[in-house]
């Protein structure tokens, strides 16, 4: 039985903040196939195309037939915990301050034995589910979970090291004026966030949904304008040290391509709100997030980018918008590298057209703001760093993997 997490007390300002450490994140290039799977929450191992052997640890030749055709494929994750141990003495500083730490050997039904982290509720000799998660170094590790969900299992300290569960964490939603921002505030409140800061630029300007937003439990409306460096800096100075998850909901969706839209005004706004806005947030909140990566139960955990899936492949109907989204994606990759020393994840949530006014002319399927918000919560709880929400996003992801050139032609319509 997992001890339910206790709401952390107010931090004693005189106590030193524990600095973040990482477990060893170095992997062979081949082993990053596991990182790719873990980033999306999949359980994939190498499967030999010639003899069907399932292979682990990752190799460059099949140990059954020496074939080099060893792609990572999603496989069944069931197995039995054969033996376990509790590491009391570790040579690694990260584990040294987290011992005792349980690990075990899991014999998978599909064949290999995997040395894995153990959830507190798994028992030697019992069946387990194995999952790959990104640890604080950003590389994939296996963790054995009980075969069936157990009460409070997300509160397990080993598991919580690898996830960004919003429970008892404090979140900043950067723009509450949008439908997505409001849905996000509701979702984080429901997920047990202890404070939901919601940013508003020009709070005096009325907007639909304001009253409902204000009434959500634990929502605290704060002044924040992502296009104003001073406003972003002020908000970070005010609340930065007690924000554990930042969700950037600032958006600027306008139709039009690159040639057929006249002038640069809208493009400049797109870049200012989305790309420059992200940079302002990153510069103001990034350093303190990175510093607080190991700061107890409510340590800094994640920076969430909501990115149009068309960042991955331009959609000429919204071509200039898609280009700005691509800039956001590139900056987010950079942020990942910069936040990694703190063990803070950058979660990119790719979405297809939303059920909001600026996508009015676009045919379904579309993603409701509530669906996007619950996908963000799910992704944080799982600890993934890339999530695709909605049928369009999933469709583009798959077509991109098969033939990006075909997708480029087909996006032209």
């Amino acid at each position: 039985m997992t001890e339910p997490l206790v709401r952390p007390k107010r931090k004693n300002p005189l106590r030193r903040t524990r600095l973040p450490l990482s477990p060893q994140g170095v992997r062979s290039r081949t082993a990053h196939g596991l990182t790719a799977a873990a980033a999306e929450g999949r359980f994939a191992l190498q499967v030999c195309l010639d003899c069907n052997a399932v292979v682990y640890p990752p190799r460059d030749a099949c140990p059954s037939c020496l074939s080099a055709r060893l792609p990572f494929r999603d496989v069944d994750n069931g197995g039995v915990l054969t033996a376990e141990t509790t590491v009391q003495t570790s040579t690694d500083p990260y584990f040294r301050e987290r011992t005792p730490w349980r690990v075990g050997a899991v014999k998978l039904d599909v064949g290999p034995v995997v040395v894995a982290h153990l959830h507190g509720d798994v028992v030697e000799g019992a069946r387990v589910r194995l999952e790959f998660k990104l640890d604080r170094s950003g590389s994939a590790v296996a963790i054995a979970l009980p075969e069936k969900d157990t009460p409070n299992m997300a509160d397990d300290p080993h598991l919580r090291e690898m996830t960004c569960d919003p429970k008892f964490r404090r979140v900043l939603i950067t723009d509450g004026r949008t439908a997505v921002g409001q849905a996000m505030a509701k979702a984080f409140s429901d997920a047990g966030a202890s404070i939901v800061f919601v940013g508003l630029a020009d709070a005096w300007k009325p907007f639909p949904g304001y009253e409902e937003l204000r009434r959500i439990d634990r929502v605290e409306i704060v002044p924040l304008d992502v296009t104003d460096t001073e406003s972003v800096t002020e908000q970070a100075e005010q609340n930065g040290a007690r924000i554990d998850i930042v969700v950037n909901t600032a958006e600027h969706v306008r139709p039009g391509g690159v040639i057929d839209r006249h002038g640069l005004t809208v493009a400049r706004e797109e870049i200012d709100i989305r790309y420059m806005g992200l940079l302002r947030l990153a510069q103001a909140f990034g350093p303190v997030l990175r510093f607080r990566g190991a700061d107890g139960v409510n340590s800094a955990a994640a920076f969430v980018n909501l990115i149009s899936v068309h960042a991955l492949m331009n959609w000429p109907q919204f071509g200039s918008y898609a280009a700005a989204e691509a800039a956001v994606l590139s900056a987010a990759q950079c942020m990942r590298a910069e936040l990694r020393p703190g063990g803070v994840k950058v979660l990119n949530v790719f979405f297809g057209p939303l059920e909001t006014e600026w996508f009015q002319t676009v045919p379904p399927p579309k993603v409701t703001p509530a669906a996007l918000a619950s996908a963000v919560i799910r992704a944080l709880k799982q600890g993934v760093e890339d999530a695709f929400v909605g049928d369009v996003a999933e469709d583009i992801r798959q077509r991109l993997a098969v033939n990006p050139k075909a997708l480029e032609r087909e996006m032209a319509g």
Binding site: A31, P57, T82, S90, W101, V103, V115, H117
Partner: protein, 392 residues
């Protein structure tokens, strides 16, 4: 064991001699090169030869990087015509011996110096662990970074679950070895160990506790291999090699390690020696973690699989008792000087058979079995080897 016919060529005419130990130290500010250099120096002094007489050189070390055996020839001013580098950890000793013996037998070299040495800087153990192998880096070290302790903890736990061995049984082996080590001046652990102390020791990675673990240290071990007539002309006594076996990655389909490659080769080992398992006077097993000792007792034919715990309960393992075993205290008491740990048992067996042990002698020792085990690459030790030696 059932005697099978061996078709392998014997090691007749070859002698292993001049066993040398450079006394261990817990930490050393010197490099592995220094330790290997000291061992070579001891060898030439002991054998009364010049460095130039060494025309074969076989080296084992984890900490000699970025050098290999080639670089070491220039470092030490050697000009060998036969050179080998076998970073096989606990399998280094026997593997070095059998390769050198064949080289000498074939005339490719006259005097082969087999040396294993490692240093131990304050932080070198952690660095060795984190980069030990690609599989360790990808699939073991990120899991608690308990190193070999955690890996052997899983093997030990599984063995206990399956065969009913108890911590007390492992403890008995550790205590007996400690008794043997009390007379070894450079042993890391030279205080008598009681069962209470063993049982109540600090847990490291359950069921492994402090006294199941070897102490990493700096040191070197070495010996020479040459023809019998060469040894005679130098006035050196030595030991003969009756048989050897070597195996890597045996039984890959076993989900957890409960046996080593010895189980594949044990028939060949005794058949080539022309002996039965009760004919050896002492046994030197590879002892980084007592569970591996138990597997060796089983796989080398002293008892059946799963019965080592019972075997342990019925023997004293003292040099003057029943089943003299790890007669200088093994790595569990003397310390593990990196790859030299793979030489320790072999060098000790040579001394016992030559009648010049540093510690307590095994009376009238005529034949000895030495076995090695090494390289926990992912979830199990991959290399196993063994040799049967006889007084020359």
């Amino acid at each position: 064991m059932m005697a099978q016919a061996s078709i392998r060529k014997s090691y007749d005419g070859v002698i292993a001699c001049a066993p040398v130990t450079v006394p261990y130290r817990r930490y050393s500010t010197n490099s592995a090169h220094w330790w290997i250099g000291r061992a070579l120096h001891h060898l030439v002094k002991r054998a009364g030869i010049k460095p130039a007489d060494i025309d074969g050189f076989c080296v084992s070390s984890f900490t000699v990087g970025p050098d290999t055996a080639v670089g070491l020839t220039q470092h030490f001013g050697l000009t060998p015509r036969w050179l080998d580098h076998i970073p096989f950890g606990g399998a280094s000793g026997v593997v070095a011996l059998r390769r050198a013996a064949r080289a000498v037998q074939a005339g490719d070299a006259d005097i082969v110096a087999c040396v294993a040495g490692d240093t131990n800087h304050v932080d070198s153990f952690r660095k060795t662990l984190s980069t030990f192998s690609r599989f360790a880096q990808d699939a073991v070290y990120p899991y608690g970074s308990g190193g070999a302790n955690a890996s052997f903890a899983l093997i030990t736990k599984n063995y206990m679950n399956r065969y009913g061995a108890k911590r007390e049984d492992f403890g008995k082996l550790c205590i007996a070895q400690r008794d043997n080590a009390l007379a070894i001046p450079y042993a890391m652990m030279r205080k008598k160990l009681t069962l209470d102390e063993y049982m109540n020791a600090r847990p490291i990675a359950d069921p492994i506790h402090l006294f199941d673990c070897v102490m990493p240290c700096a040191g070197a071990e070495a010996f020479l291999v040459c023809r019998e007539d060469t040894a005679k002309s130098l006035g050196l006594s030595g030991v003969r090699i009756l048989s050897t076996v070597e195996r890597h990655n045996a039984f890959p389909a076993d989900p957890m390690q409960v046996r080593g490659g010895w189980a594949l080769d044990v028939g060949e080992l005794w058949a080539m020696a022309g002996l039965k398992s009760n004919a050896v006077d002492l046994v030197e097993t590879y002892d980084d973690y007592p569970v591996i000792v138990m597997m060796q007792l089983e796989d080398l034919g002293f008892c059946k699989k799963g019965e080592a715990a019972e075997f342990v309960r019925t023997h004293t393992f003292a040099n003057d008792g029943t089943f003299p075993h790890n007669t200088s205290g093994g790595q569990l008491s003397v310390g593990q000087a990196g790859a030299a740990g793979g030489f320790l048992g072999l060098v000790e067996a040579m001394r016992q058979l030559m009648g010049e042990p540093i510690g307590k002698p095994v009376a009238d020792a005529k034949a000895a079995l030495v076995s090695g085990f090494g390289m926990i690459n992912y979830d199990r030790g991959l290399s196993s080897c063994a040799a049967i030696l006889a007084r020359a």
